[in-house]
């Protein structure tokens, strides 16, 4: 299955639960700028402009879907996934907060702990998974649902941190890596065995994964090529963007033209935009590391987005080649760097599985999941 562009969870899950393109649901990344400013904000569920499938008639249990915080009312039960800064506003109806606490429910692994040691990462992963399964079993029985959805996010976290351990059979954590996936398989088996005869099953991932070697700090490259002028003060963030800046990037590879009238230091007139876009496309397609091209494809917004919120879309979106992980952020010091993370998302090899009677379409994308669900449910 094709993931969203960019291939990140907030965008892809927003498409998965609405069946819409980002131009229609308005979520283009984990971050956006507060209108009229350079202040980075983290769009929450109220920013989603298309209704999720659980606004249809029926009873729903929705567990751990990313970008659904704060939990909005629905018929059934919902606990939000990443990013959920607190449990209190991540649960609907709120009377289930204590139930989740009693299960020691973990919204996500704590990445700060994960960065400290692989042992802590595995501890967090197994704890989060087991608590999620307890909650699954509880609501499976507690609520007479029509659609039950659960997202297991641990596999993504594990692959980000230890993809190299997966690829290297001699790595000390290789076995443990596989053990976690075995347990995830076990969870799927538990769910499968609980299905009633009339139930349909859909399984999917929101993106694929592969190894990565270098982070590519897109804003550093823009600065190096003279498109961006801004200090590197982490306390000011993007607010440090200076006059004269032509373009800047938000995570991961979303390029925005610094348009006059749209941003405080905006300086690009409408008639200058087209020429600048060509210039940027040429600049990015020529980016190389040790003789190897970094960017696989540069998309213009009209190529990939449609809908009434296309005005908020990035002007260009970069898709990297294997081995390169694109990064926004205004503070890094060099175009290329590395960190402990060894896995990165891929756009073209997410997967979609349906039991034989679910009519999975050919060459599907994340926007095809809701239509599939609609056919099954007869909505």
């Amino acid at each position: 299955m094709r993931s969203s562009i960019p291939e990140i969870s907030s965008v892809s899950w927003s498409s998965i639960i609405t069946g819409k393109n980002p131009g229609e649901h308005n979520i283009y990344g984990f971050t956006e700028l507060i209108p009229g400013t350079y202040t980075l904000s983290f769009p929450h569920f109220a920013k989603l402009k298309s209704p999720p499938f659980w606004s249809q008639e029926g009873t729903f249990v929705i567990i751990n879907v990313p970008s659904t915080y704060p939990a909005a009312p629905l018929n059934g039960f919902l606990v939000s996934g990443f990013i959920s800064p607190d449990l209190e506003r991540a649960v609907h109806p709120p009377e289930y907060i204590d139930t989740l606490k009693a299960f020691n429910y973990k919204i996500d692994v704590d990445t700060k702990k994960a960065r400290k040691s692989p042992m802590l990462l595995f501890k967090e992963l197994f704890e989060a998974l087991e608590s999620r399964m307890k909650v699954c079993h509880y609501f499976w029985e507690k609520i007479d649902w029509d659609v039950f959805m659960v997202v297991f996010t641990g596999s993504d976290r594990l692959e980000h941190f230890l993809w190299h351990a997966y690829e290297d059979e001699t790595h000390e954590y290789h076995t443990k890596f596989l053990e976690f996936f075995t347990r995830v398989d076990g969870c799927i088996q538990e769910i499968g065995e609980s299905l009633r005869k009339s139930d349909s099953l859909i399984m999917l991932s929101d993106h694929g994964m592969e190894g990565t070697t270098f982070n590519v700090n897109v804003n550093c490259y823009l600065e190096e090529k003279g498109f961006l002028t801004g200090g590197k003060d982490p306390k000011r963030g993007y607010n440090n963007i200076q006059k004269g800046t032509k373009a800047f990037a938000l995570d991961p590879g979303r390029i925005y033209i610094n348009k006059k009238g749209k941003y405080p230091s905006g300086c690009i007139d409408h008639e200058e935009e087209e020429g600048l876009l060509h210039e940027l496309v040429d600049t990015f397609t020529s980016l190389e590391k040790d003789g190897e091209k970094v960017i696989k494809k540069v998309y213009s917004k009209d190529e990939i987005y449609h809908g009434q919120y296309i005005g908020c879309a990035p002007d260009l979106v970069l898709l990297p080649r294997k081995g390169f992980n694109l990064k926004g952020g205004i503070t890094p010091e060099s175009v290329f760097d590395t960190d402990v993370l060894s896995g990165k998302h891929t756009q073209e090899d997410a997967f979609l599985y349906g039991k034989s009677n679910t009519h999975v379409p050919e060459n599907p994308s994340v926007e095809d999941v809701v239509p599939l669900l609609k056919r099954i449910m007869g909505w």
């Binding site: 983290f42 800064p85 996500d108 702990k113 994960a114 306390k235 000011r236």
Partner: protein, 515 residues
């Protein structure tokens, strides 16, 4: 020119509620509130502007509509300030000033200061009203509403309840027993001072962590924490500057950022030093934020607010336990008694007038530190040698027709009475935009004008026997022997010269207040 706090960001703002860190590189988050940009992207919510959702704390005070221009920079609209020890000399004065400036003022007091003074048989020479009447007059005369509760700082459950109700955005901590001689009376008094001050502050730190971790604690310390090192080492603002170096045995170490040595000179001063360490540690452990204000010897009676009505006057103590040196000199001059200096009288101290000190506090309140930041501000507007100060008071007394002598007493304290003294006070002018407004002579004159009023002069006369020191640091109880009496202007200024380092750069002043 920009206000002194224009460039501060949500990072500093008490309305920013920290919601944890996100780590997009790993599609992850952390619910731990590690408030360091090194630890991943920080997520906040704004208590004032919930419509902004979750965002990075990068908006400057200047950009934010919740921060508006006022007399001393930018202030958070209706900023909630809780004053602990609101009934005291400083607490009451600050409450009125902040209320008049548009802050929402709350406060606690258990009237311990009134009790301590009464216990020693003394009284405030400027009569003050009961709290009920004070609050009523503040509303009637100044239009200032103060949310007051009678609470002992050590009654943590009641204080917690009040903090939860108010959710203060800054806490000014004056709720300490502020007297070196009182702490030296005997064991019971030393214990009482240390218990109230040290344990009160320690408990407060736990409550801030639990209830309002985003608030700024502005804690009153004292320049006396530093002592007066005989080496002449400058009294830096709490920490050594970045380029300070220690050399020993042909080796060298940087001292930059380390706490400077403290050398307290009474059990009271020890309590303040212990507070310093407790506050410092709490900031480090729990990401609290605090200004530890090393205030010079405070003096004076005037602010526009306390002078607005007799019912709004703040207390003024001149007895040997609670009277600070300048207030005592003026009182002695009014009674035409000799001004008493201890030992050589060449002790050098930092000073600040009440009105200036209150302005400094307002500036600190609107310029909070970062999460986890413990910072020290040396709050002095001038340094003076005590015998020279006595000469100044005598001179002003002359303009009121008094002929005053100066009297040297055997020093009841254990302290150096001849020492070098260099104090650094660069932050007030260069970080907080403060320049002293009140000269010594001006405030001394104001004091004469107030204290010579017959009803007040009578109150001084009633307690004249409590002015001379009898509390000695060596534990013996006796009135200090007189060593010498002399006419002002007959002694040459000898020995060390005070040196106040306010930095070299031009001091910025606030822009004109826009209407």
């Amino acid at each position: 020119m920009k206000p002194h706090n224009a460039e501060k960001t949500c990072w500093n703002c008490p309305a920013a509620v920290f919601k944890g860190n996100v780590d997009f590189r790993a599609c992850g988050q952390s619910m731990e509130e590690i408030k360091s940009v090194e630890e991943g992207m920080i997520v906040i919510e704004c208590a004032r502007r919930p419509e902004l959702g979750h965002f990075e704390p990068t908006i400057t005070f200047e950009q934010c509509p919740e921060w508006v221009l006022f007399q001393y920079g930018l202030m958070l609209k209706n900023m909630k300030v809780m004053i602990l020890g609101i009934d005291g000399y400083l607490g009451w004065t600050l409450a009125l000033k902040l209320g008049r400036l548009g802050f929402k003022v709350s406060g606690i007091d258990n009237f311990l200061r009134r009790d301590c003074v009464m216990e020693k048989g003394a009284h405030t020479i400027v009569p003050i009203e009961r709290m009920t009447e004070r609050l009523h007059a503040a509303k009637e005369v100044l239009g200032v509403n103060i949310n007051f509760r009678r609470i002992d700082i050590q009654d943590r459950s009641k204080l917690k309840e009040f903090m939860e109700e108010v959710k203060p955005e800054a806490i000014v901590h004056y709720a300490e027993i502020p007297s070196a001689p009182y702490s030296m009376v005997d064991c019971d008094h030393a214990v009482k001072v240390q218990e109230n001050n040290v344990l009160g502050t320690l408990g407060l730190l736990f409550l801030i962590k639990e209830v309002v971790p985003e608030t700024c604690l502005i804690k009153l310390g004292t320049m006396g924490e530093y002592g007066s090192p005989l080496t002449g080492r400058p009294l830096f603002e709490g920490m050594f500057p970045a380029d300070a170096v220690m050399v020993w045995d042909n080796r060298e170490w940087s001292l930059g950022g380390e706490l400077t040595p403290r050398d307290p000179v009474s059990f009271y001063h020890v309590s303040k030093v212990q507070d310093t360490f407790n506050v410092y540690e709490a900031c480090k452990y729990w990401w609290l934020r605090s200004y530890d204000v090393m205030q010079g010897v405070i003096y004076g009676v005037h602010t526009d607010e306390v002078a607005a009505d007799p019912r709004l006057r703040t207390r003024l103590d001149v007895d040997e336990w609670f009277g600070t040196v300048m207030n005592r000199f003026v009182t002695q001059a009014i009674l035409e008694m000799p001004l008493t200096i201890y030992g050589t009288g060449e002790q050098i101290r930092g000073f600040i007038a009440l009105e200036d000190a209150m302005e400094c506090m307002a500036r600190l309140i609107v310029s909070p530190p970062e999460p986890g930041q413990y910072d020290v501000v040396n709050q002095v507007s001038g340094l003076h040698k005590l015998n020279v100060l006595a000469e100044t008071v005598a001179k002003v007394a002359g303009t009121f027709g008094s002929d005053i002598k100066i009297q040297k007493l055997e020093n009841p304290r254990v302290e150096a009475d001849r020492h070098p003294f260099e104090a650094v006070s660069r932050k007030l002018p260069h970080v907080f935009g403060f320049t002293p407004k009140v000269s010594l002579e001006k405030e001394i004159t104001r004091m004469f004008e107030l204290l010579m009023q017959p009803d007040i002069k009578k109150r001084i006369e009633e307690k004249v026997h409590l002015i001379m020191p009898r509390t000695r640091w060596d534990g013996f109880k006796k009135v200090s022997d007189v060593l010498e009496v002399y006419e002002p202007g007959t002694r040459e200024d000898m020995g060390y010269k005070p040196r106040l380092d306010r930095g070299q750069e031009k001091v910025e002043v606030e822009p004109e207040l826009k209407t």
